[in-house]
Amino acid sequence: MKILATLGKQKVAYIATILFVLGMLVLGMAASAYAVGPQPVFRRTDSQVFTGKCCNSWGETVSIFQKGKPTPVVVSWSTDFRLDPFISIVTGLMVNDEPCQFYGGGSFVQDVYTPGNEPWDSRTLQFVVPASEMNGGTNTFTLCGGGLGKDTDAISIGFNVLEVRISK
């Protein structure tokens, strides 16, 4: 307090103003650092079960920003999975929350009967989304799919990664 008294009111106000401006600058920088931008990669390390006929959102999303006119993108999905015998599942993408569409091979079939627990297997799929399906700016791609048979058709999805990249 003694120091403040010796400085005088004007100087104290001046220092306070400088500190306030600096504080706002720091806050602004921190906020921009944590701003959520496009997320071209996604990784999930638990298992989920998706039940039902095609097609429902499976809630896994990636996004990418393209300046100006968009060019085609490649979305890769690599996953561990497990299916009951004799079940067929199809997978695709919802582009910018539009209905589920199929942009490449996305079928999962278990046509061999194995007594006991079905094993985990892995697969990598690549979807190519044409430029005509996208807007300029940020585009989002959400995994979707479902069974081709009954409402009880289910697929277990294990550890998996989803990635989007611009086709060159």
Partner: protein
Amino acid sequence: MTTRIKRRIETKRTAWKILRGLPLLCLVAALTSAAFAVSPKEVLNVTRNQVFTGACCFSWGESVSVTEPAKISAVVVTFETDFELTPIDQFNVEPFTLGLMINGGPCRTDLGPHSLHENHEDSAAFLVGSLEWIVLPDDGLVKGTNTFTLCGGGPQGSSKITLGFNTLAVRISK
């Protein structure tokens, strides 16, 4: 001739020398960037069969590396392979777990899918496996060179996998 005129002539000569050297500099720069566009370390192509025996997890000796700039980004590692697993019975084979060692660290099997297993009625056949992993900056990536080594193993010490022709590749996610 005044000193000012002499200086001007000297300046013009110097500028001309620089201009003459520019095309050569551009050529060198272009060649250098072309040479470093795709580092040979980023891809590996193995064209022989290898047998790995043992429980998870141990190094399989296949590595690729990528150079990270100051601002570290996630990387994508892809592995595609022909493989043959040890049959347990008529329908089943022993599953194998795969992962990556980041910069010589422990075998990480949580970077994406890790299962190599397929039911098939003809157990004496090579199948194709394809896995992709995403390594995030927090997983231990550093500025400069980062190395990724394939690792894995079976459920027990006697588990055996034969890897056929395979490719391992790494790229920075953009």
